[in-house]
Amino acid sequence: MGNTNCIPAMIDRDGVVALIRAQMPDADVVVTDLTGTMDHYDIRVRSSAFTGKSLLDQHRMVYAALEDARQDGRIHALQLKTEVPSA
């Protein structure tokens, strides 16, 4: 959103999408900044990589893709929704 002077402790929405797509290239990802502070995100992911996985495992896959960004604090909080693409 035209914000070019992000400090390193933030990640923009495109950055979140890129981290997820790096693990799940076919993923449809919709990211919403919940607070306008670029560290609390609502993330919706649809990917065929989730096929046959439990909801818990689907969420584990997304958490794994975002592990570094969570560890270093770029993402402070996230709420997550995952789904398998409809055939």
């Binding site: 909801l55 818990l56 958490y63 592990e67 909080a77 997550l80 929704k81």
Partner: protein, 118 residues
């Protein structure tokens, strides 16, 4: 400082002792995280007893919990001894009716009826 084995034992005892158990940040009366508050409100709505254990400042216990569940974030919810993630998982289960069925079943086993809620 307790070692991770004794923390595992402590967690197992807590999970066994509470049909619905939330490990969160803060307490029921004073939640210290929006997601913990949301989880408390979520279970208030169901009317079954549940316990919240504050692990915000207990880093070793949080680490052991994350290892045991393979789940990195708080809150963490256990129902009838099983790990169910958080409200991102439980929300869809509530919408589909799966959660009411599960809670009905596990509390019936224990002879507990839900209190009437608005």
């Amino acid at each position: 400082m307790p070692d991770s084995d004794s923390l595992r034992d402590e967690i197992s005892r807590e999970v066994d002792a509470n049909t619905i158990l939330v490990y969160g940040k803060g307490t029921k009366d004073a939640p210290r995280c929006g997601f913990t508050l949301e989880t408390i409100q979520f279970f208030n709505h169901f009317g079954y007893p549940f316990e919240v254990i504050d692990v915000l400042e207990n880093v070793p216990k949080r680490e052991v919990l994350s290892q045991m569940t393979d789940w990195p974030t708080l809150p963490k919810v256990f129902i009838d001894g099983q790990f169910y993630g958080d409200t991102d998982i439980l929300g869809p289960m509530a919408e589909s009716g799966e959660l009411s069925t599960l809670l009905g079943k596990v509390f019936e086993k224990k002879g507990v009826k839900p209190s009437v809620v608005l």
